[in-house]
């Protein structure tokens, strides 16, 4: 029974990974973009200050932009999966097949997670070596494990985006505000202490802030185990996201009779 489901998961994962590998330009850009963005702001910083700022500050933004890129890839891929599925009617036969919807969603999320992991591994490795040399490499590899755990609650938000795409039908129009709110409030490119109070609260209540905080603190060596106390609460996003997704999915099928537009 479990073996059948694992096979189904692996089969969908294989198809989705092949799709990603076909889009080499997108993958290359996802790796290049955080570096470009951090170097652009570093140049502005150099121009304003009249001397190159500390490399640690560059690294701070590099890690933030990389996590931002991962979250954008993850949220956009959930939205696009639903949209393309609706357009091609693929979703209709996938969900009517004897495959558990959780297996399908898990494999899609796993695919974007693997891509995100690859982006972080490449960009983070460059950043750590440039900033700290080889001394912090072991910390970096530990941070990879924590990042994987910290990204799991984000899947819950992706499920909410997927549910919204079933209704709103425009994947980018739905994922864009989420990316904007996440980018602004999660302390990815700057510390959230400089944000207005309300935005700071929004940032602290979402999992993205913690993902960036855990990764930076582990790499830079000031990680406190007590800070992981927030992690179990963040998993509520996963449960919440799943409930919302299932509600809207069932509601859509009940009203429309089928998936598709």
């Amino acid at each position: 029974m479990v073996r059948k489901e694992i096979n189904q998961l692996l089969a969908i994962l294989e198809v989705e990974l092949k799709n990603i590998l076909r889009e080499r330009g997108t993958v290359g850009f996802s790796i290049f973009f955080p570096i470009l963005l951090s170097l652009s702001t570093y140049s502005v910083g150099t121009g304003i200050l009249g001397k190159p700022p500390s490399l640690e500050l560059w690294f701070y933004q590099l890690i933030g932009f990389t996590i931002l890129m991962i979250t954008i890839v993850m949220s956009a891929s959930s939205a696009w999966y639903i949209r393309q599925g609706l357009l091609s009617r693929r979703l209709e036969y996938i969900f009517s097949a004897p495959v558990n919807p959780i297996i399908i969603i898990a494999s899609i999320s796993l695919t974007s997670g693997i891509l995100g992991f690859g982006i972080f591994l490449t960009v983070g490795l460059i950043g750590v070596i440039v900033t700290y040399g080889l001394s912090n490499l072991s910390n970096f590899f530990i941070s990879l494990l924590i990042l994987i755990i910290a990204l799991i609650p984000i899947l819950g938000i992706n499920l909410i985006i997927a549910a919204a795409t079933i209704i709103g039908k425009e994947p980018e129009a739905i994922s864009q505000p989420v990316s904007a709110i996440v980018s602004t409030t999660s302390g990815l490119a700057y510390p959230i202490t400089i944000l207005p109070f309300i935005l700071k609260i929004i940032g602290e209540s979402m999992p993205y802030y913690y993902a960036a905080y855990y990764v930076r603190s582990i790499i830079e060596g000031y990680f406190n185990i007590l800070s992981l106390g927030n992690l179990p609460f963040l998993f509520l996003y996963l449960i919440f996201g799943f409930v919302i997704y299932r509600y809207f999915e069932n509601n859509y099928i009940r009203k429309e009779g089928a998936y598709g537009i």
Binding site: G25, T26, G28, F29, F32, F33, L36, L37, S40, T41, Y42, S43, V44, G45, T46, G47, I48, L49, G50, P53, L57, Q61, G168, K169, E170, E172, A173, I174, Q176, P177, S179, A180, I181, S183, T184, T185, A189, Y190, I194, L195, P196, L199
Partner: protein, 268 residues
């Protein structure tokens, strides 16, 4: 004969404008999405740019300069994506009809540019209001007449630039990557981020960029800080716009020649 020609051009322009407006008003979810996203993106850009010198957040002149920088970032971004929209025209086969009907690339891109200008207007106003409300930037324009003249010149310049850019990227397999890179590189080189924010040696380099006389002029008129004489700047911007007009003609002719020679417009 001349009357017929003018009528022909006006029909083409109005068709492109009609198409642009239709596409814009059709996607209401996009309008709502932009209204929600823009204030957040403005705060994000603002704080990201000032990250290395956070103490400057208390300086009203710096904050106001950055506000105009973000306005111009939105402005330039919109035209770059309009140039990039050539890819959709190629993919959907529209471009073959455009070339066969002897329509200029600049006119064809007008449809996309009109939606871009509506976006600039809405997002630009949101950007200014957000910067003023959150960061305390001053909304007053130092030289209003020069500001609007330079804005009109910049719109004409970037309309033409979008068509040159479109003809350069049309053969690329992933033009959106180039557009994304250009969207970050160009504002830094064009004085979109007002050069008074930089050290003098950096500002001295930026004034050699031709784009500075188009984009930087708007920032200077808004903030009242000029590195080059305002009237000289205005004159140079007109000269560059005329040059860009001829460049857009040359680029369009080259594209048509390529099309006729190869029988296809691109590799896509």
């Amino acid at each position: 004969m001349e009357y017929k020609f003018k009528n022909f051009i006006i029909t083409k322009i109005s068709a492109e404008l009609g198409k642009g407006l239709k596409i814009y008003t059709r996607n209401k979810v996009w309008i709502i999405s932009d209204l929600i996203s823009t204030p957040f993106w403005v705060i994000f850009l603002f704080l990201t740019l000032i990250f290395y010198a956070q103490y400057l957040l208390n300086n009203i002149n710096v904050v106001t300069s950055l506000m105009w920088g973000i306005f111009l970032f939105i402005f330039m971004n919109s035209f770059m994506w309009a140039g990039n929209s050539i890819v959709q025209s190629v993919e959907s086969g529209i471009i073959d009809n455009i070339i066969l009907t002897n329509t200029s690339l600049t006119i064809h891109l007008l449809g996309r540019n009109i939606t871009g200008m509506i976006d600039i207007l809405i997002s630009g106003v949101i950007a200014l209001l957000t910067s003023s409300y959150i960061f305390g930037a001053t909304l007053s324009i130092s030289e209003p007449i020069l500001f609007f003249i330079s804005l009109i010149i910049a719109v004409i310049f970037y309309l033409l630039f979008a068509s040159v850019y479109a003809s350069l990227i049309v053969s690329l397999r992933s033009p959106w990557i180039v557009t994304n890179v250009m969207n970050f590189v160009l504002p830094f080189l064009s004085g979109a981020i007002p050069i008074q924010l930089f050290q003098k040696n950096v500002a001295d380099i930026i004034i050699y960029s031709p784009f500075y006389y188009i984009t930087g002029q708007i920032a200077s008129a808004a903030t009242g800080v000029y590195y080059v004489d305002p009237y000289l700047m205005l004159l140079i911007s007109i000269v560059f716009t005329v040059i860009m007009f001829f460049m857009s003609r040359i680029a369009a002719n080259k594209l048509i020649q390529k099309f006729r020679k190869e029988g296809k417009i691109s590799l896509i």
